[in-house]
């Protein structure tokens, strides 16, 4: 149920099983409504692999990341990281293991402590876990700065003296401090300039190769995901609609949402030949479905079946999973 290559021998580094997260929202006077933010997400990530996740703002991506990291423990479901079920181990052990899973955030402007120098910021992981002698720590900090391409002069400066791209590099440096195995990246390049985006993506690619890192890369930008991901998952309304290997998502998208996303991307080549978008955009929040497919209000091809039950992930092709009633019914849909 994960779409990874079947010949992978190693155990997955991250296994998320039917993750659900809901929040209580004040409803009428004494009752509280439960709003499902994440409604049953499952996937695995193998060592050294990048799983890209397309998620628009408001789809619950930040909640998903925080739930995987067990910051806000999920309402139900399991997260198994490096073989350990994060819900079953003690808090102390969880803290230890969690250091092998780091988050890189979207907003580079708030990720480093604003009143501490870069050096102090980067020393934090070592101080907290009491690792290494002071000399070793300083050596490691210097090493980290080099790895992310920052000069050693950066040490004594404060975060606000750096540009967005540089701060993002420092964030990555801090995330690497404890030698993580998995990085959860929450739109790390969306706030950056076009020319800097590529630099940071290159840095991430390079780091992955050097340290055999696994990435869970959430982004809005399908083109960036194309470059980094081995597999791509399409998220909508707190569920995955489609998971497939990189090439297949672009060559043969099956889910109507994936199709409309790909259609809506403004590309230079498209601009030249004129364009004709059949864009379908989620309008407002009150149309969330309780039963049936989450995409129903926006789908142009929906029929009665879609309203009655939530479609399950079915394997359409080797490694290609889609959650859509229409796809299950007709095994071979030609792309339009």
């Amino acid at each position: 149920m994960n779409g990874s290559r079947k010949n992978y021998v190693e155990d997955p580094i991250l296994e998320v099983i039917d993750l659900k997260k809901n929040f209580s929202v004040p409803g009428s006077l004494f009752r509280q409504r439960k709003v499902d933010i994440i409604d049953g997400i499952s996937f695995t990530i193998s060592p050294g692999e990048t799983l890209g996740c397309v998620a628009q703002g408001g789809s619950g991506k930040s909640v998903l990341i925080r739930s995987i990291a067990y910051f806000d423990p999920p309402t139900s479901g399991r997260v198994i990281f490096m073989g350990q079920d994060l819900g079953l181990i003690s808090k102390k052990k969880r803290r230890q293991i969690r250091s092998k899973m780091q988050i890189v955030f979207q907003d580079p402007y708030n990720c480093l402590h604003p009143k501490m120098t870069v050096e102090q910021n980067l020393l934090q992981p070592f101080i907290i876990h009491n690792q290494g002698t002071p000399q070793e720590r300083h050596r490691r900090v210097a090493e980290l700065l080099g790895i992310v391409g920052m000069s050693q002069d950066a040490k004594k400066l404060l975060p606000h003296q750096f540009s967005g791209g540089q701060r993002q590099r420092l964030n990555v440096a801090r995330a690497l401090a404890l030698n993580p195995r998995l990085l959860l990246l929450d739109e790390p390049v969306s706030f950056l300039d076009v020319s800097i985006k590529g630099q940071i993506l290159n840095l991430l690619l390079d780091l992955q190769r050097r340290f055999s890192l696994s990435y869970f890369f959430v982004a809005n930008d399908l083109a960036a995901l194309r470059q980094l991901s081995d597999r791509i998952a399409v998220m909508f309304g707190g569920q995955f609609m489609e998971i497939a290997p990189n090439e297949l998502i672009y060559a043969d998208p099956r889910h109507p949402y994936t199709r409309s996303l790909l259609n809506a991307i403004p590309s230079i080549k498209k601009g030249l030949s004129g364009f004709d978008l059949l864009a379908v955009a989620p309008t407002d929040r009150n149309n969330v479905q309780d039963r049936g497919c989450k995409f129903l209000p926006y789908c142009q091809k929906a029929n009665n079946v879609c309203a009655s039950s939530i479609p399950r992930m079915t394997e359409v092709k080797q490694g290609h999973f889609v959650a859509c009633h229409l796809v299950s019914v007709r095994p071979q849909i030609t792309s339009q």
């Binding site: 985006k197 590529g198 993506l201 470059q227 403004p266 601009g271 864009a279 955009a281 407002d284």
Partner: protein, 326 residues
């Protein structure tokens, strides 16, 4: 570009500086013309001066910033020389602006419809009912489904894309002839972005509006722009029609920018093409051409003098020592 009759806006050598501890030359000599019903895209990275150019056109640059030179001819009148009162008549009425962040454009405590009605009531003497009618009409014009329901919604209940559409509606309330769209799609997801682009094209077709679209995304620019002006470090580095820019980019920055845009159809690369270095620090701009530190084709003269805008061919201008008149 076209004859003078349909020339809506003509900007000549606009200079807007900010006087802080050091003088920050946010816009340093930008010129372009815009005809009726055409769309021009201002493309560049952050700090290039695109937003400040728009604010200068609307004369909303306040101390410590000021327009220090140049002319902005709107239908023949120089906006730089107008009084505050005369400018107020033009702002919102003939030239409108839509901003980047839809979530901060509206007051979260009032319904969207009420705020738009307030905007009308502030400028025109109409009844509340008539104001509501105008608002509903404008919402429909911009392609919002079920405007009646949207009217009574609060901003927190609305999708960012819908709010942005409503802001376009708000901009259209007084039937302007030019709308300045400042990074209107940057905070939106892909589908909402596409919707806004369709909306803009639609408005333009039906009502003949002109647009100046500020964006850092070349892909977005190519969707709707007729002409593109590339800015870097407060100056114009290349200015031509959209097709010409994409097929025959002359300036090294434009070439690098096009090269670094990630396309869906492109195969996976080991190393993504990118522009080395950082955008210029506008407090300490480099001597000579502002792009010279990152330019793969930089020569000796580039770090000494600033290249002026050269007319390479009819309709195509470029500011680079390496590019000569055809």
């Amino acid at each position: 570009m076209s004859d003078n009759n349909s020339m809506l806006l003509e900007v000549r050598d606009l200079k807007t500086y900010f006087f802080l501890k050091k003088t920050l030359k946010a816009v340093d000599g930008v010129s372009f013309t815009l005809a009726k019903g055409r769309t021009m895209a201002l493309v560049g990275e952050s700090g290039a001066g695109k937003s400040v150019t728009c604010q200068s056109i609307l004369r909303s640059v306040y101390p410590p910033g000021a327009i220090v030179g140049g002319n902005i001819l709107w239908k023949g009148r120089d906006l730089v020389k107008l009084s505050a009162r005369e400018m107020r008549n033009i702002r919102g009425d003939q030239i409108a602006m839509v901003f980047q962040n839809p979530l901060t454009s509206l007051n979260p405590l009032f319904t969207m419809g009420a705020q738009l009605s307030d905007a009308i009531l502030a400028h025109r003497r109409v009844s509340k009912g008539k104001a509501k009618e105008i608002v509903l009409d404008a919402l429909e014009k911009t392609g919002i489904n079920e405007p009646e329901i949207m009217y009574n919604r609060y901003p927190c209940e609305l999708n960012a894309g819908t709010i942005q559409q409503a802001m376009f509606g708000a901009a259209m309330l007084c039937e302007p002839e030019l709308i300045l769209a400042d990074e209107v799609t940057s905070n939106l997801d892909i589908l909402s972005q596409a919707k806004i682009l369709i909306t803009m094209k639609d408005i333009q077709k039906k009502w003949g509006l002109a647009f100046i679209m500020v964006t850092h995304d070349l892909g977005v620019a190519t969707q709707i722009a007729d002409d593109i002006l590339v800015m870097y470090g407060g100056r114009c580095v290349e200015h031509t029609s959209m097709r010409e820019l994409i097929t025959h980019p002359l300036h090294p920055y434009t070439q690098a920018l096009i090269g670094s845009v990630l396309e869906i159809e492109a195969p996976r690369m080991d190393v993504i093409k990118t522009i080395p270095g950082n955008p210029p620090d506008m407090y300490n701009p480099p001597n000579g051409c502002c792009f010279c530190l990152r330019c793969p084709q930089a020569g000796e003269v580039c770090s000494k003098r600033n290249p002026g805008l050269v007319v390479v061919s009819e309709n195509h201008q470029c500011a680079c020592f390496g590019v000569h008149k055809a």
